[in-house]
Every structure is written in C-alpha cells, then in structure tokens.
C-alpha cells in the first residue's frame, strides 16, 4: 500500500536510471526543516541529535536506493530509547514520528504512547484484544511503549505480559510497513529486558541513549519554560535557580527537565501567593518577575528535610 505517502515521484523515472539527486530528494521530503526544528527547540542532547541525523540520512539513502531498484527489503525501523526520566524520550519520539512521516515510512505520523497497563489485561483472554486494540490504533504511526521492561515479569511465569510481548513481536515482524515501535526506559533495566527477550533485541535496529542534562542545559531549559510562560527571573532569582539546580540534582527522584518544570510550576505558585499577600496595585513587571525568594522557599534548600 503506497497511499498517503508524501514522497511524490515527480521528476524521477525509475526505469534504467543510473543516478539520483539526493539533494532534490531531501528538498522533496522537506526533512531538513524538521531536523533544524529539532536542533533549535531541544536543548542539549547532542548525541541523540547526531543519531537522529544518521538515521534520517540512512532512510533517505534507502529511499534513493529503492527508486533505483536496488533495495528489496524495507529497513527495520523499530527503536529503543534509553535514558533517565525527563531526558526528552517522549518529545524526541514525537519528532521521530514526524521525521518518519516526512520520509514516507509511516503513513499518518501520529504517536500512540502506552505503558504496561494499556497492553496487559487483568485476566485470561483479556490481554490479546487489549494489545491488538492498541496496535490497531497505532497503525500508520508510531507506538511508544514507555518503561517497556515492565511487560516482562521474570518472577511470575504466568504473567500476561508475555502474551503481550508475543503479539507485539509478531506485529513488529510481519507489519513493518504499518507501524514503528519505540521502546523506552532506564538503560540498565532495558538491557536486562533485552537480555531475557532476545526476540526484541534482534528486531530493534536503532538503540539511542539519552544522556542526563548538564546544569547549564537545565538552566537553559528553565529559561525556555519561563519564556513560554511569559515570565522572567530577577538577577537574584537567576543565582537562586543555579543553586537550586545544583542542589536538586544531588537529591533523590531527580528527573532532569521534568524536575525543572515542576520547580517552575511551584515558583509560579509562590509568586502568586506573594503578590496576593502584598495587597494593592501590581505592575505588569511584577506579574512577570519571579524573585529569588520564590525559588529559595523551595524545600530543596531546606537541608533538614532532604
């Protein structure tokens, strides 16, 4: 089925063609705009961006080879994203769906994000329809399975997760044209998962590791959140935020960008509280400014609790 593929064949003859203009193909799929957007909008993640460019180039060449009649087997596109929480796996998966759509490897380019609960049923005979339903919804797009290792429960051999895994593997193998599966989770647990499910490892072509953000990158991310919400930091608050990031990282349950977003949400609450307590006229400037006290009030600075 070739319908809805955006890659048109305009200007290309497949008969006995000996050369193909990759640049024209690039322009035709408009892939560069997406890659630049990815570079611009996501802070850091240099190795991930490099890998995505590699994959995009590979898929583009695969398309060119196909046009010249060189390739018979479509490339395997299933991927594994490993990394700590809040490192941008879901966001990148969303971009990936867009890239695959532009290159014509998925027909619709939507992302269906699921976890174990969406795939595995609660009683015998419940799992297969549930998994199939999710797979049908994901067809034409990308299925993103967060914390995929929970599907496999080695301590319980009667666990229904195994049934979901078998259906998944079957569809991943037989309907490669119809959907792309991305598995995501912590690196070490994914490695154990793959070790006990060799079927998955062999069906996944691309493993991408997401590094933790550095303190400077987290600060840049915080700036993005602030800009998007039309806030800004006073100079003292900037210093407070730098302290906050350094302290927060050392504490348990640190979730990279997600922790920063939560911190931003709480700082906004405290700012609102501060403004309300100080009755009277508030300036436009005051409504936009987050002060150092809004950040310093966080329990992250309270060493007794942590």
């Amino acid at each position: 089925m070739t319908m809805d593929r955006p890659a048109a064949t305009a200007g290309f003859e497949t008969d006995a063609q000996q050369a193909i203009d990759l640049k024209a193909l690039r322009a035709e799929t408009d892939i560069d705009a997406l890659l630049e957007e990815l570079d611009r909008e996501l802070v850091g993640l240099a190795p991930v961006k490099r890998r995505i460019r590699e994959i995009a180039a590979f898929l583009l060449v695969a398309r060119a080879r196909e046009r010249l009649g060189l390739q018979s087997e479509p490339p395997t596109l299933h991927m594994a994203f490993t990394g700590n929480p809040g490192t941008g796996k879901t966001t990148v998966a969303l971009r990936m769906a867009g890239i695959l759509h532009r290159l014509g490897y998925v027909r619709k380019g939507h992302l269906v994000s699921v976890t174990r609960d969406d795939l595995v049923g609660q009683f015998i005979g419940h799992t297969a329809p549930k998994t199939k339903d999710v797979l049908k919804r994901a067809m034409g797009g990308v299925l993103f399975i967060d914390e995929a290792y929970y599907l496999h429960r080695p301590e319980n051999e009667k666990d229904y997760g195994q049934e979901a895994i078998e259906i998944l593997l079957q569809v991943m193998e037989n309907q490669r044209d119809d959907l792309v599966v991305i598995l995501a989770g912590y690196k070490d647990r994914m490695d154990t998962f793959f070790a006990s499910n060799p079927g998955f490892r062999s069906r996944i072509a691309h493993h991408i590791d997401f590094p933790d953000y550095s303190n400077e990158e987290l600060f840049a991310i915080a700036q993005r959140f602030l800009e998007d919400g039309h806030y800004h930091l006073s100079p003292a608050a900037q210093a407070a935020l730098i302290d906050y990031i350094a302290k927060r990282r050392a504490q348990p349950n640190f979730a990279n960008a997600r922790s920063i977003r939560n911190a931003f949400d709480r700082a906004r609450l405290r700012q609102a509280q501060r403004l309300c307590e100080r009755s009277g006229v508030v300036s436009r400037e005051a409504l936009q400014t987050i002060e150092a006290e809004d950040i310093r009030a966080s329990r992250v600075f309270n060493d007794e609790i942590s």
Binding site: R107, G140, D178
Partner: protein, 147 residues
C-alpha cells in the same frame, strides 16, 4: 445470483487496496468502522454477527484490514461487510456499508406466491441457502475451510 447489497455492489468485487481506501475515507471523517458477517443474506436481515466491537480511534486502515482478514479466515463462506458509523449529532447512523467478501457460490432467492383470501396473492422471497442449517450454507454440503 449475485447479491447486490450495500455500496459498490454493482461493481466488480473490491480489491483489498480499494477496500483499504474506502476505510481510509471513513476514518478521515472520524467514523467508527466495524466488520460484520452473516450467512443469512435476506435483505431484511439487519442483524449480522459482529466481528468484534466497532473500532474507535483508528488513524490508518491497516488496523481494519487486519480484522477483515481475520474474519475472512474464520468465515471463508460467509458474507462480510464493513460499516462506517458516523456518531455526529443528528447523523448517528451508518454512513457507508459495503461487502468485502461473498461466498464463491451464491444460490440466490426463491420467489413464493402465497394465496390469500379471495383471489389476492402475496409474495415473499426466501434465500435458498437458508434451507440448510447455519454453518452448512454455501458449502455444497461439505464443510470446507480456507487453508
């Protein structure tokens, strides 16, 4: 006798690719697509067996085609149709319905004349296939399964 029920039934049978495009049309309009089958093809039989519940939230016809193929494998000698249900307020009806499989041999219908009071005559049609019990219709007496 070739049964003509639903959309496209005066055309040659649709290929899988054509079926898939029709399903894509339904999905693009946000209709819920369902698969149904029966071996009682009387035009007044509105109660076809459901092959699973209607499929909601699908984006791509591939998901429907999986079910159509599964239904064909399980019922190689039945009529199978695909319905597109529009849940928009005030429509709330099946907007498109078409056959995606028919038995290899369709015996057709008998026309019966029923004498009424006086010299009145009533007419009724009856599918020859329904003379046999369920599951044995359209099989020439043998139970055949698709490989």
């Amino acid at each position: 006798m070739r049964v003509t029920q639903g959309a496209f039934s005066f055309l040659p049978d649709l290929t899988d690719d054509q079926i898939s495009r029709q399903v894509a049309y339904c999905l693009d309009r946000g209709w819920a697509v369902s698969v149904e089958f029966t071996d009682d093809i009387h035009p007044r039989n509105t109660y076809w067996e459901m092959w699973g519940p209607p499929m909601f939230d699908l984006r791509d016809p591939a998901g429907v085609m999986v079910e159509v193929r599964a239904c064909r494998d399980a019922n190689p000698n039945a009529y199978i149709r695909v319905n597109g249900f529009d849940s928009t307020r005030f429509w709330e009806a099946v907007r498109l319905s078409f056959l995606v499989q028919r038995p290899k041999y369709e015996p057709g219908f008998a026309l019966e004349r029923i004498k009424g009071k006086g010299r009145t005559t009533h007419y009724q049609i009856r599918a020859y296939a329904t003379e046999r019990p369920e599951g044995e219709r359209y099989t020439n007496g043998k139970t055949e399964r698709r490989a």
